[in-house]
């Protein structure tokens, strides 16, 4: 294969891959390659001609992409032998499916080009996606093609096969009897079919136990509900109904919800033009999260102090009528804050909301529930349904499992997904415990768990397998495969079916039969409908009438809550890069900076400037953290606005057994995480004296210049609601009207593309960055190159802090090429490689560019990206299958940048022409960033059409151009950030 890969270096586009399915068919290289890439059933792959196989075959074709040696390379065209319904060569196919992370499911629509899934979008029909996606869902597509996935059934590292495993299982199961020796440890699942299988297994092995574990779980939410209402329930917040929101350590816009829904709802109330009153967000948190950044008022408090803050707030709200005695002492400032917040809440009875974060103990959730009840929000802004998963005391179950394993009571342990050995609480030495039983582990990559298992089974990617999921509100979706398992992996469902002793063990049969049973008669068309729409109607859970007996609950809460000990504490957070470690081998996620710290390719111990001073550390100083006799090391990173005496740690780094991308990236903090301090708890922090290189994509974090101390205006504009109203009445006042020195091109005719980005809605969640990378084949450069300032993202999120360093405000600004009508980059290019289209797009002709980088120097927004090296050189062949065939893969030495997804524009244009040369409708063209954005902060369209959304937005009083005085006439303008502060607190 090597020589083929080398030849392939010359290839410039992903499109070529389909073109050259050619040599595939018979060459010996291909056969070897298939053997290597698809060890499972290579033979049947080569012979059978079934649809999926053929599509897979095409995909595999990328392995031999374009042998372009001479002037006229002999290229071949391999049309299908027999037709595939709905497939037109060159047109993408879209399939609805769904994906769950940590038990939170979202509906997706996946685009497949010639059999290769290449892009993920949200499913507008799905209540938790509403057409948007988050960064992780965007990046999931890359994991599909991860060459380092588990790709071969093994028995203790020795090549084996599914057949052998199944026969092993048969004899093993014979010995299981009532199943007292059988334990199943699975990742959290909401799959109805799996639920059914669980029941079967429980019937077959009454003494067996099924443990569900997620390192990032929402158990405390349901437990809180249990405390308040006596039953495990999931609260569903209706942020779009709430005028006032108080968040108790809940990053509901970020990693504490893992779906687009809350953002959609929240952002809908941050757009003053819409006529609806702007909502007001009070946030109480220890880490500075993007929710905190969106807050109108923010209180820094250690995670462990949030309980007392909650009590204080409850008292202010006079929840029970009875006097509450509050733990600890809240400072005067906090008192003022809480008083104002409480007043605000009460002023908006039934239209307010108190939300608590999943890190907070059940008591706080119970308190929140009581407050909402007292405020009459229950049934209005918050409704409760039963959880779509088996809620319970997971940590207890895990503890029990450890004991059983230790005591040798477990003969057979089946691990279904996840990476427990890496992520389970550190109380026990799981590596050792796993040796005490016959462990069969189904894992996605060759991770720590895989290494510790007897049977090592490759798990299929959600896009490779049939399945079903339930959204948090119960809405079910069918998960349909986009491509056959590239490495012959199987799904948890299929293994469960094996354990349950089913005859029908193919995912399709399992899911199909389950739903057939549900539907009975018209199963057929319901199935078709479900597949088509991506949601199964009528599956949503009914709201539960939840009423809490306030005094009793309060008493319980008071009894349970203890004052938090003073001193340093550590708090565990999911990571923006790896989530809980599952994306640790995903280069896109590693290179996408953390929204607040802008850190890439690492995790860090975040602490406040004051705490840093106290510990005598600065950025990059290695800290040793210890708790309960366990130590971990993690480099310090100062985050303004972080709570004092609190250290935030991100999970999912320092993977010892991982693919090429993630191995040894960052520092493992799970080693500190026991049941006792599962989310937070006291710890000692010590400076080790060692230092570590942390790389961020932003060097300067405020709009205040060093040396002069002046603030830079005209970059990010912010108004308070009053200022905005005043401005809206009096209209934009032009300080110095710009005059042109020379006439220019007339942009008044035809389509004129433009964009408006609403800083008031943008939460800085990175979804647009990853979506852009996926859509535009943006390369990954790695930590060292980012350190040199060579990251390639076409759209970046600039984050600026303002105000005092200890307790600042933050604002996010998505910055991509703003398509200046008078583009400074164009006039300086000697070879006219970047010129303007008559429709106002600043075009970049890669194949003309010679790479003088003059345009980069002359771009005031610094949004141009240069291929300093051949970033695509060492990409494994299989990884190239993710390339978007409509976008050129850039070679070394050329400049690149955002072009408003011109490939999408041209596609719609030619479609409109084909349909009788009709005009392109407003909203028909959607850029990748816009499509992904959960906050609807990005609007694209034809500014020449006064009726278009974008044209209307550009009429708004808060519309402005960045660096306006340069008179570059940007086509992308910004809508100023509007804050809605409580007059009592300013």
């Amino acid at each position: 294969m090597n020589e083929l890969i080398q030849l392939n270096l010359s290839s410039q586009t992903g499109r070529k891959y389909w073109r050259s399915l050619n040599q595939l068919a018979d060459t010996p290289e291909f056969r070897q390659w298939v053997e290597r890439e698809f060890p499972e059933g290579a033979s049947e792959l080569l012979d059978s001609g079934s649809r999926r196989t053929l599509l897979k075959l095409m995909a595999a074709g990328f392995g031999l992409a374009g042998l372009t040696a001479c002037r006229r390379p002999v290229e071949k065209i391999l049309p299908l032998s027999k037709g595939v319904e709905g497939y037109v060569h060159g047109r993408p196919l879209h399939y609805a499916t769904a994906m769950e992370t940590c038990g939170i499911a979202s509906g997706l629509i996946v685009e497949c080009n010639d059999g290769r899934p290449t892009k993920v979008e949200g499913n507008p029909r799905h209540p938790f996606s509403l057409g948007a996606t988050n960064a992780f869902q965007q990046a999931a597509i890359l994991d599909l093609y991860d060459p380092d996935r588990a790709r071969q059934v093994q028995k203790q590292g020795v090549k084996s096969s599914w057949a052998e495993f199944e026969s092993w299982w048969l004899e093993q199961s014979a010995k299981l009897g009532d199943g007292s020796g059988l334990r199943i440890l699975s990742a959290r699942s909401t799959s109805p079919s799996l639920e059914a299988l669980k029941a079967e297994i429980a019937k077959k092995y009454p003494q067996s136990a099924w443990v569900e574990y997620e390192p990032v779980s929402f158990d405390r939410v349901t437990e809180g509900a249990r405390m308040a209402f006596g039953q495990a329930l999931v609260p569903h917040y209706r942020f779009e109904q709430a005028d006032v929101i108080v968040s108790l350590d809940c990053d509901f816009l970020g990693l504490d919800t893992l779906s687009a829904q809350p953002v959609k709802q929240f952002a809908a109330r941050r757009k003053p033009e819409d006529g609806r009153e702007l909502n007001r967000l009070y946030s109480i948190e220890s880490n500075f999260t993007i929710t905190g950044a969106m807050a109108d008022h923010r209180m820094r408090a250690r995670a462990s102090d949030v309980a007392s803050v909650a009590l204080a707030l409850a008292r202010e709200l006079n929840v029970s009528g009875a006097e509450l005695n509050v733990l600890g002492q809240n400072s005067g400032r906090q008192q003022k804050f809480l008083a104002a917040a409480a007043k605000d809440l009460m002023a908006h009875r039934g239209r307010s909301l108190v939300v608590a974060g999943p890190r907070q103990p059940a008591e706080v959730h119970a308190l929140a529930a009581l407050m909402n009840q007292a405020l009459g929000n229950t049934g209005q802004t918050v409704v409760y349904t039963r959880p779509p998963f088996a809620a319970g005391d997971t940590l207890g179950a895990v503890k029990k499992l450890a004991e059983d394993l230790g005591a040798g009571r477990v003969s057979t342990l089946v691990v279904l997904g996840g990476n427990p050995v890496f992520a389970l609480p550190a109380d026990a030495d799981w590596n050792a415990l796993f040796r005490k039983a016959a462990v069969a582990a189904l894992t996605f990559d060759e991770n720590e768990t895989w290494k510790a298992a007897l049977w090592q089974l490759p798990e299929a990617h959600p896009f490779e397998t049939w399945g079903d999921v339930r959204a948090l509100d119960g809405t079910a979706s069918i998960q349909q495969p986009q491509i056959q398992p590239l490495y012959g992996g199987r799904s948890a469902l299929e293994i469960a079916a094996l354990i349950a002793g089913r005859e029908q063990r193919r995912g399709y049969d399992i899911v199909r039969s389950y739903w057939a049973a549900q539907w009975g008669a018209q199963a057929e068309q319901k199935w078709k409908k479900a597949l088509f729409e991506g949601v199964i109607d009528g599956t949503q859970f009914p709201a539960v009438e939840a009423k809490a007996d306030a005094p009793r609950v309060l008493a319980a809460v008071q009894g349970a809550l203890k004052p938090a000990p003073a001193g340093i504490e550590t708090v565990f957070y999911p990571s923006w890069h790896t989530l809980d470690g599952r994306f640790a081998n995903n280069a896109w996620m590693h290179e996408t900076p953390d929204p607040m710290t802008k850190l890439v390719w690492d995790n860090a111990a975040l602490l406040s400037p004051a705490t840093a001073k106290k510990l005598g550390v600065k950025d990059g100083d290695m800290l040793e953290l210890s708790a309960g006799g366990r130590q971990v090391r993690c480099p310090a990173l100062v985050l303004p606005g972080h709570a004092d005496d609190s250290i935030s740690l991100q999970l999912g780094f320092g993977r010892s057994a991982c693919g090429r991308v993630g191995r040894g990236v960052g520092h493992r903090v799970e080693g500190l995480r026991a049941a006792a301090n599962f989310w937070f708890g006291p710890a000692e922090a010590r400076k080790t004296g060692a230092t570590y290189k942390l790389v961020t994509t932003q060097e300067h974090h405020t709009l205040i210049e060093p040396i002069t101390g002046l603030k830079r205006h005209n970059i990010v504009e912010e108004f308070s609601l009053e200022e905005y109203r005043h401005r809206a009445e009096h209209g934009k006042h032009e300080e110095h009207p710009a005059t042109d020195l020379f006439g220019g091109f007339d942009y008044s005719k035809g389509y004129q593309w433009g964009m408006a980005i609403d800083l008031s809605a943008c939460i800085g969640c990175n979804a647009c960055m990853v979506a852009c990378a996926a859509e535009n084949n943006i390369p990954v450069v790695g930590k060292e190159q980012v350190a040199k300032g060579r990251e390639m993202h076409w759209i970046r999120l600039d984050r600026y802090f303002s105000g005092d360093e200890e307790d600042p405000q933050a604002v996010m600004q998505p910055m991509a090429c703003v398509q200046c009508e008078k583009a400074p980059c164009e006039s300086v290019c000697p070879v006219a490689a970047t010129v303007h289209s008559p429709e106002g797009i600043n075009e970049m002709a890669y194949n003309r560019c010679v790479g003088t980088r003059y345009c980069l120097n002359n771009c005031p927004y610094k949004v141009r990206r240069f291929n300093f090296l051949n970033w695509n050189k060492d990409i494994p062949e299989i990884r190239k299958m993710v390339f978007n065939p409509d976008v050129t893969v850039r070679m070394r030495g050329v400049m690149e940048k955002c072009n408003y997804c011109v490939q999408r524009i041209e596609e719609k244009r030619s479609q409109a022409k084909a349909e009788g040369r009709r005009p392109i409708r407003d909203g028909e063209i959607v850029t990748a960033c816009q499509q992904a954005c959960p906050a609807d902060a990005i609007v694209f369209g034809n500014i020449n059409d006064p009726e278009s959304r974008v044209a209307k937005l550009k009429q708004q009083a808060r519309d402005y151009s960045a660096l306006e005085e340069l008179n570059t006439k940007p086509r992308t303008t910004y809508l100023a950030r509007v804050r809605n502060p409580n007059p009592e607190l300013v």
Binding site: F742, E821, E826, H836, K969
Partner: protein, 195 residues
């Protein structure tokens, strides 16, 4: 064969025997520029017209004394300078505003201001070539064979001697006459030089 053609054409060095000139002229050798200048003047007075002086550096007045016309080089250069200027304008206007109308920074397709530098550079480039090549042409160089080099002391002309040649074409040319004449002018070494 080729020889024959060349001699038919009578190209330098291949002239037919008959046409071939025997004597180039008489060359005298002087110590100082002043002596040379004086010699030239006397020769002119004596009515000699076809003369040439040779010196290691230009001597002011000699060419006047020899009665040489003004050099036409200046006029040649002007012409080429204008050509360069016009060429630059045409290049930038035609490529930008006619052949491929690219919208660049929303600027006019052609304007004088940004065209000035290249107009200037091309004008200078062409005139420089005109100057050098024109000079070569007027001086008939490169010409590697010249009867002058047959003079035994020609090397002095590039060192510290100042030579005067009275050529055979001169109507008043009479070899021994001329030899005597130059000696009389103070020539250190006079000899008849064959062509």
């Amino acid at each position: 064969m080729l020889e024959a053609v060349l001699s038919r054409l009578g190209l330098p060095g291949y002239e037919p025997e008959a046409a071939r000139q025997k004597v180039f002229g008489v060359i005298g050798d002087f110590d100082t520029p002043e002596d040379l200048l004086r010699a030239v003047r006397t020769a002119r007075a004596a009515g000699f017209t076809k003369m040439e002086a040779f010196s290691p550096f230009p001597i002011h007045g000699v060419d006047e004394a020899l009665g040489a016309p003004r050099s036409p080089l200046g006029r040649i250069v002007i012409v080429f300078a204008l050509l360069g200027l016009a060429g630059a304008v045409l290049l930038q206007w035609w490529t930008g505003a006619v052949d491929y109308k690219l919208i660049i920074a929303g600027k006019p397709l052609f304007a004088v201001e940004p065209s000035v530098p290249i107009m200037f550079e091309l004008a200078v480039l062409l005139s420089a070539f005109a100057t050098v090549l024109g000079m070569f042409h007027l001086n008939r160089i490169p010409t590697y064979y010249h009867p002058f080099f047959n003079y035994s002391r020609h090397a002095g002309a590039s060192n510290d001697r100042f030579l005067l040649a009275i050529e055979a074409q001169d109507p008043k040319f009479q070899a021994e006459e001329v030899v005597r004449f130059l000696d009389s002018c103070g020539s250190r070494h006079t000899e008849v030089v064959e062509a």
